[in-house]
C-alpha cells in the first residue's frame, strides 16, 4: 500500500518544527514501527536525516515508542502501543499525521523523541518500597485478597509511556502517578510507606509542572494498558487523607 506520511520534524528543542510529507510503500503485515523503519531506510539511502523516534522492546512493554498518530497517542487502536499497531488497519492512499507528545513537562529532544525523565523523577521521589534484600520471602507468607491483588496488578501494568499526559488537554500526569501509587499502596508491603509516598510523589509531580487534573477522562481511553481513572480517585483520597493524618 502507498501511504502519505506527515511527520513532525524538529532539529532540537530550540529549533522551529514543522511537518514534512513523505510517501512510503508499506505492506499490511508490517507493524507501524516497521513502516517507520522503511521510511528511514529510504531517507538514509537518499542521504537525508532519518526521523528520530524512540523504540525498544517492540512488544508493548517498554513504553518508548511514543507518537501521536492522527491526533491519538499510540494511534487509533485501543489498548496497544505503537509497536503493536499494524498496517492492516490502514488502506492504500491513506494520509497519516505523526506528531510527538506535546506536554510542557516533556521537553522535545528531536523529531518525535521527547524527554520523559519527569516521570522517572516522580518514581524516584517515592515510587518504591524499602525492604531488606536477602532471600526471596515465601510466596504466601503474607495473605493478600484476590480482588486487591488484581487491582494492584492492573495498576502495575503501567509502562510509564506518557500517553496519559499526552492525551490530557491539561498535560496532567495524574493517571501515571495514580497508577504507581495504587500499585504499591494497595499491597501490604507497600502500605507501610503509602502516606509519605503519596505526598512525595504528588509533590514531585507538581514540581515538574504537570497540569491539573480536571477529570476529562481522555487518559484512561488512550492508556495502552487501559488503566482506570479509579486510581486517580484513590490518589486524591490518599493524598487528602495523608495530609490530614501525618505529623509533618
Amino acid at each position: 500500500m502507498k501511504l502519505k506520511l506527515r511527520v513532525w520534524r524538529q532539529k532540537n528543542n530550540q529549533a522551529k518544527g514543522g511537518f514534512e510529507v513523505y510517501n512510503v510503500e508499506a505492506d499490511e503485515h508490517m507493524s507501524f514501527l516497521e513502516m517507520m523503519d522503511v521510511l528511514n531506510e529510504e531517507l538514509i539511502s537518499k542521504k537525508k536525516e532519518p526521523v528520530a523516534f524512540e523504540h525498544d522492546c517492540r512488544e508493548g512493554i517498554c513504553g518508548t515508542c511514543n507518537m501521536v498518530i492522527d491526533g491519538r497517542p499510540h494511534g487509533p487502536q485501543k489498548g496497544t502501543t505503537v509497536c503493536q499497531l499494524h498496517m492492516r488497519h490502514y488502506k492504500d492512499g491513506d494520509t497519516i499525521t505523526i506528531e510527538p507528545w506535546r506536554v510542557s513537562s516533556f521537553p522535545l529532544i528531536k523529531d518525535l523523541v521527547v524527554d520523559r525523565s519527569a516521570y522517572d523523577r516522580i518514581i524516584q521521589a517515592g515510587g518504591y518500597i524499602s525492604v531488606n534484600t536477602g532471600q526471596a520471602p515465601d510466596g504466601n507468607a503474607i495473605p493478600i485478597d484476590k480482588e486487591v491483588s488484581s487491582e494492584a496488578f492492573d495498576a502495575a501494568t503501567c509502562i510509564g509511556c506518557g500517553a496519559c499526559a499526552a492525551a490530557c488537554p491539561n498535560g496532567s500526569a495524574m493517571l501515571f502517578t495514580a497508577a504507581k501509587v495504587a500499585h504499591l499502596g494497595k499491597l501490604p508491603q507497600g502500605k507501610v510507606e503509602h502516606k509519605k509516598r503519596v505526598q512525595k510523589m504528588v509533590g514531585q509531580m507538581d514540581k515538574e509542572g504537570f497540569g491539573f487534573c480536571s477529570n476529562v477522562g481522555a487518559c484512561e481511553v488512550e492508556c495502552p494498558k487501559e488503566i482506570s481513572t479509579e486510581n486517580i480517585a484513590m490518589l486524591n483520597r490518599s493524598y487528602l487523607g495523608s495530609m490530614l493524618s501525618t505529623n509533618d
Binding site: 506527515r6 480517585a233 483520597r237 487528602l240
Partner: protein, 231 residues
C-alpha cells in the same frame, strides 16, 4: 500550620477547593430554585416578596450569603487560574498545539468548564445587577401586605417587568444552558476530586448528577418563560 498552605496550593488541594466550593454552590442552587418557585404563585407577589424580605433581613442568612459571594468568587477565580495554567501545560507556547486535534475522548463540557464558567460568571453579574443591586441600592417601590408587620420591597414587580422583555428571557436561557453543561461535568467531577469513587455508587452519583443538572436548569428556565407568556 504550613501544612494547610501546602495542601491548598498542591494540585490536588486546588481541586479540593474547586470540588467543595462547587458542591456548596450546587446546594445553593437547589435552595435558590425552591425559593424562586414562589414567583410562579399567582398572588401578586405576596409570598415571593415576603420571602425576599426574610432572606435579606435574617442575620443567619445574611451571613451565609456573604460566604456564598466569597465562594462564588473563589470558585470562579481559582477555576480561571487553573484553566490558564493548564492551557500552558499542553498545547501552549512551549509545546505547540497538536495538528490533528481529535481529543475524541471526554465530554465537550469537561474540556470547556472554564468557558462555561465564564459565561455563568457574566450571567451572575447581569442577574445580580438586575435584581440584587436594585433591591439593595435601587429605589424599588415598597408594598404593605395585610398580616405582615413591615413594608417590604416589591421585588416581584421588578422581576415581572424584567421578564416582559424577550432579550432578558433569552439571556437567562443562554445562562441556564451554560449552567446545565457546567453542572453535568461538575457534579460527578466534584466527587472524583474528593476521591469518592466506587463501582457501587459512582454510577448512581453520575446519573443523579445528570438528572439534577437538567432538572435544576429546567426549573430555573420555567420562571422567565412562564412570566413572559403570562404577561
Amino acid at each position: 500550620m504550613t501544612w494547610i498552605l501546602n495542601l491548598l496550593t498542591s494540585s490536588i488541594g486546588r481541586k479540593l477547593v474547586m470540588s467543595l466550593t462547587g458542591l456548596f454552590l450546587i446546594s445553593f442552587l437547589l435552595i435558590h430554585l425552591l425559593g424562586n418557585f414562589q414567583l410562579l404563585i399567582n398572588d401578586g407577589g405576596e409570598s415571593f416578596n415576603t420571602y425576599a424580605y426574610f432572606m435579606t433581613n435574617n442575620p443567619l442568612i445574611k451571613t451565609i450569603s456573604y460566604g456564598l459571594y466569597f465562594f462564588i468568587l473563589l470558585h470562579a477565580f481559582q477555576g480561571l487560574a487553573l484553566a490558564y495554567t493548564n492551557n500552558n501545560r499542553s498545547g501552549g507556547k512551549a509545546t505547540g498545539k497538536y495538528a490533528v486535534k481529535t481529543y475524541s475522548n471526554g465530554s465537550w463540557a469537561s474540556k470547556n468548564m472554564a468557558l462555561l464558567g465564564t459565561f455563568i460568571l457574566f450571567f451572575i453579574c447581569i442577574h445580580m445587577g438586575d435584581f440584587w443591586w436594585k433591591m439593595k441600592f435601587g429605589d424599588l417601590p415598597m408594598i404593605k401586605y395585610d398580616g405582615f408587620e413591615n413594608e417590604v420591597v416589591d421585588l416581584y414587580t421588578r422581576v415581572s417587568v424584567a421578564f416582559d422583555q424577550l432579550w432578558i428571557v433569552i439571556v437567562y436561557l443562554i445562562g441556564l444552558i451554560a449552567l446545565c453543561f457546567h453542572l453535568i461535568h461538575g457534579f460527578g467531577s466534584a466527587f472524583q476530586s474528593l476521591g469518592l469513587r466506587h463501582k457501587k455508587y459512582t454510577p448512581l452519583i453520575n446519573g443523579f448528577g445528570v438528572v439534577f443538572s437538567i432538572l435544576i436548569s429546567l426549573g430555573f428556565a420555567a420562571i422567565p418563560i412562564v412570566h413572559y407568556f403570562n404577561n
